[in-house]
Subunit: 213 residues, 2 copies
DNA sequence: GAGTCATGGATAGTGCGACTATCCATCCAT
DNA sequence: ATGGATGGATAGTCGCACTATCCATGACTC
């Protein structure tokens, strides 16, 4: 198929497809001549994934490029790829510069959280996990606004989420085509986030409705 | 305190504070004279909340304004405010225009999800809940990429999330100052999202590490 | 084999959101 | 009385995600 057909079938304008090609979000088509290339179903799939990451996943073009590149890197095995996706995925957080007084509080809080997850819950997580930074950031922000975040709450969250994560990896592990379609990992990681958040809000609504009587 | 001090204590530039004032994210200070106003601790709190919504919460200035305005509206009681926050909060989703073939599939899927939550799980949720739209959108996107989303998965997610929602409302209900600091609801709803997502990613890492052996 | 037309590639332009900078006519504190 | 900050208005900047225009070429149509 040619560019115009790729554009039509995906619902993305020709100009935008060109833009994604330029930015490296899409593999170039097979050059059939200097001024003509052939695209296949894989390009279409990839294009759809890109759109999903940008819209549903809320990622920037640059983030999407990095993640897709890393997820495709054959140097990573199946499980590392999940890690890679996670390590590159937003939210990226700006840690305070070393030396400042905030940095100390930051490190302290981070260590507390890590200790809770590792020692108390027995989670095997890497020290440099960016999700840990994001978590620290969120907790400190909450605190700075005057809302306490107790250890108990955090533990409850963690315990509630763990079986979900387990189930998700089950699905990924069972996925037959996952070695060819590596993007599946990215898709699952990013695109299930809105599912989770939506359900949480709906649960809020339910609980609120019940209590109201 | 004056503008410069408000700026200093919040770490937000004077120009930005002026911008937020213009955009209605911040209440104007008490005009002590034509060219001088007085700001208090409430302004500082609010400014910090605004920054948190924009950075940690990833909201746009317009969204933050709408949410804060609604959350402050005295026409809403305690529980409605949670609803208000939820109904205004991102992600906002673009439903397909009526009449198109996608719209039919969209409605069908939405009805399925609603039935699952309402009839099977007994959740009391409103038909027009925007989170339901976001959920439908996410599921359809996943499907269009070739990833099946089974009813069972959804049910598992829902069941895992419900106790979390319950616990969150507990905290909010116990909050003594919540009637004065209505923003607490917004803060909890928005700022706990990154906590949830970060923990999910960390749980992924743990599960992945265990399975790797 | 001429004409038409989409293509790949390059480059420039657009629209928007979130600031940021400049001005100016006052005040207020010193 | 006066220099520096202030509120208010207006204009400018910057980054991002496109979008539009051009161009030389090559492929398909007749």
């Amino acid at each position: 198929m040619q560019l115009s057909e790729l554009s039509e079938r995906s619902g993305v304008s020709v100009a935008s497809v060109k833009y994604y090609l330029r930015e490296g979000l899409l593999q170039p088509g097979a050059a059939v001549s200097a001024r003509r290339s052939e695209y296949d179903e894989d390009h279409l799939r990839r294009l759809r994934l890109v759109r999903a990451l940008l819209t549903v996943g809320g990622m920037s073009v640059a983030q999407a490029r990095d993640v897709l590149a890393a997820a495709q890197d054959p140097a990573f095995d199946r499980h590392s790829r999940l890690g890679v996706a996670q390590y590159l995925l937003p939210p990226r957080v700006t840690t305070p510069p070393a030396g400042t007084p905030e940095a100390a509080a930051w490190q302290e809080r981070r260590a507390e959280v890590l200790a809770l997850l590792r020692d108390e819950l027995g989670w095997r997580i890497h020290d440099g996990a960016p999700a840990l930074d994001a978590l620290t950031e969120a907790l400190l922000t909450l605190n700075s606004l005057g809302y306490a975040t107790t250890e108990g709450t955090l533990r409850d969250y963690a315990n509630a989420l763990h079986p979900i994560a387990e189930a998700e990896l089950d699905v990924i592990d069972e996925h037959p085509a996952i070695d060819e379609a590596i993007e599946a990992v990215v898709a699952y990681t990013v695109l299930y986030e809105p599912v989770l958040l939506s359900l949480r809000r709906l649960a809020h609504e339910d609980v609120s409705a019940r209590r109201r009587r």
